[in-house]
């Protein structure tokens, strides 16, 4: 059964159709990649799913029911966690406090929230940094904190928005390990990523968009060889070969 379905999703900003009639469906347990050149509407799709933007037309269906028009915090409670491409750490809180705040979405007492947060810290290998202020973390740590915080809301579906951007090669390998570990723990992942090494190795299926429209969907290999995708990334002259 599909965990998340986008049905003819359209989002316009004035005359600009940032997302134009995109339909896709993410199955339970898979890692679903979403790719496209800069400005093609990937983050806009995320913002529509988590209701940061109102949807112009179409529908978002999670677990069989429409979540269109719900408040962002309700969507989190339903089980959709997300990270931000431009990281949003709670700067003047420690790493542990960041994750504790997120854990409060499922528990009410401070002890339960801290216990849950410590488990997440272990899981994401952030435990050594737990008492540091979030703003003192380097970018790799902040990206990891984004994931940890989203995990602390105990999502069924995790939306990862370019969590690998700006990482060093060794951090990239760790990120791939972490994402696979999250999938093994039973969480479905919808991931936007520019770094091909990441998206091609971990995705089960990939959906490609350009100028807000769907251009291809399939296994990583199929999508990488799709002429439309090559054209979108490299231009017409490379599409024939």
């Amino acid at each position: 059964m599909a965990l998340l379905e986008l049905k003819n999703l359209t989002k316009s900003f004035g005359g600009l159709r940032a997302v134009d009639d995109v339909s896709l469906s993410v199955e339970k347990g898979e890692i679903f990649g979403l790719i496209g050149p800069n400005g093609s509407g990937k983050t806009t799709i995320f913002n529509c799913i988590s209701s940061f933007y109102p949807i112009t037309s179409g529908d978002v269906v999670f677990n069989g029911s429409s979540i269109k028009g719900l408040k962002t915090h309700k969507i989190c409670k339903l089980g959709v966690g997300r990270t931000f491409q431009v990281v949003k750490p709670l700067s003047r809180m420690t790493v542990l406090e960041n994750i504790t705040a997120a854990a409060f979405s499922r528990v009410n007492t401070i002890n339960d929230a801290k216990d849950a947060a410590l488990q997440i810290l272990e899981f994401t290998h952030l435990v050594d940094h737990k008492d540091k202020l979030a703003r003192s973390l380097p970018i790799g740590g902040r990206k990891r904190l984004e994931i940890a915080r989203a995990l602390a809301t105990r999502p069924q579906l995790l939306l990862l928005d370019e969590t690998a951007a700006g990482l060093t090669p060794s951090e990239l390998d760790e990120a791939i390990l972490l994402i696979n570990k999250i999938r093994e723990s039973g969480i479905t992942i919808l991931i936007v990523e520019h770094i091909m090494k990441v998206i091609m190795t971990i995705s089960d299926r990939i959906h490609a968009i350009n100028f807000g429209r769907s251009i291809a969907e399939g296994t990583p290999r199929e999508v990488a060889n799709n002429p439309e995708v090559i054209k979108a990334y490299l231009g017409d002259s490379y599409a024939q070969g």
Partner: protein, 318 residues
């Protein structure tokens, strides 16, 4: 932890003994006013310091609390002391309305909206003469001749307010307040109903500020719109108390209240009569300089930057 407990016990003992040891009405009066500002400053700090919603309109809640108490006596004929509950509740009701309007805005726009709100309430209180007597104000007769009852009442209120905020900040609600301050969008994505929790913060803050207003009515026995809805003497003073003492610290506004009331009184009395009269007009200038100084050198206030003060001023190595 040990030294902290000792410090709290010592401070409590000092405040309880103070009016018994210092019999001067004048110094007792200063302490009462300072303690009232502990109450207002701490309330302001919960909303502005911890939740990040900087209010320039706390005079709204102070004034509503004060007028509720006053009108209880003049219109309903019951004791103005009922205003200690009624004023807090009335301020909360007004807080709900202010939140409904102003929380649609963020950051500086929210601050400006509360500033405008304060002026609106001042004008309403000035012009709705059939209810408020306008600029004539409300005059009551003080219940107690001694200052001691007032002192212990306001001491209890200030203590209750600080304790409440302390407990709130250690709970889920407190974590949510700070998350909202740090990043409202991130907070929302973590399942935090930001509108609800901003309103909770505002309600607690307006409740205690309203009680402070009702206390002021009972203690001073005279109010008019330009005193209790004053931008300068209430709204801005609340901000100064918070900033000088230290925003987002439990004890910051308490320390700030004593510094600010002390300074205000020093200037009002022209350095206790030692300096020429014109110096009493200089307090606005000095407050302005003080804010510049604090922002430049002690951005976290006296309490927030205490470690820095110890290091730089007293040459104590941490």
């Amino acid at each position: 932890m040990k030294t902290k407990n000792i410090a709290i016990t010592t401070a409590l003992a000092f405040f309880i003994i103070f009016p018994l040891a210092v019999r001067s009405d004048y110094y007792q009066h200063i302490m009462i006013i300072a303690l009232m500002w502990v109450l207002i400053g701490s309330s302001w700090n919960l909303l502005a310091g911890y939740t990040g919603q900087v209010s320039f309109g706390h005079a709204i809640f102070f004034g509503v609390g004060a007028y509720t108490a006053g009108l209880f006596a003049t219109k309903l004929g019951i004791s103005a002391w009922w205003g200690m509950i009624g004023g807090g509740l009335a301020a909360m009701l007004v807080g709900l309305f202010v939140g409904w309007v102003c929380f649609r805005l963020r950051g500086p726009y929210f601050a400006l909206a509360t500033l405008a709100g304060g002026e609106i309430f001042r004008l309403i209180a000035t012009n709705w003469e059939s209810l408020t007597e306008g600029m004539v104000g409300i005059l009551l007769i003080q219940t107690f001749r001694s200052k001691l009852p007032y002192y212990y009442i306001v001491l209890g209120l200030a203590g209750l307010c600080i304790l409440t905020i302390h407990l709130v900040m250690k709970s889920k609600i407190g974590y949510y307040f700070v998350s909202i301050r740090e990043d409202q969008d991130a907070a929302e994505s973590l399942g935090i109903n930001t509108t609800l929790y901003k309103n909770i913060s505002l309600l607690i803050s307006s409740f205690f500020t309203g009680i402070a207003g009702a206390f002021y009515m009972n203690y001073m026995a005279f109010i008019d719109p330009h005193i209790v809805f004053s931008l300068h003497y209430i709204s801005i003073m609340a901000i100064l108390v918070g900033i000088v003492g230290g925003v987002a610290t439990i004890m910051g506004p308490a320390v700030g209240a004593f510094i600010m009331v002390g300074l205000q009184e020093t200037f009002r009395s022209a350095f206790f009569g030692l300096a020429p009269r014109w110096t009493s007009e200089a307090h606005a200038l000095v407050f302005g300089l003080l804010v510049i100084f604090v922002i430049m050198f002690l951005a976290n206030g006296v309490v927030g930057d205490w470690a820095k003060i110890k290091r730089k001023v007293f040459r104590i190595k941490a």
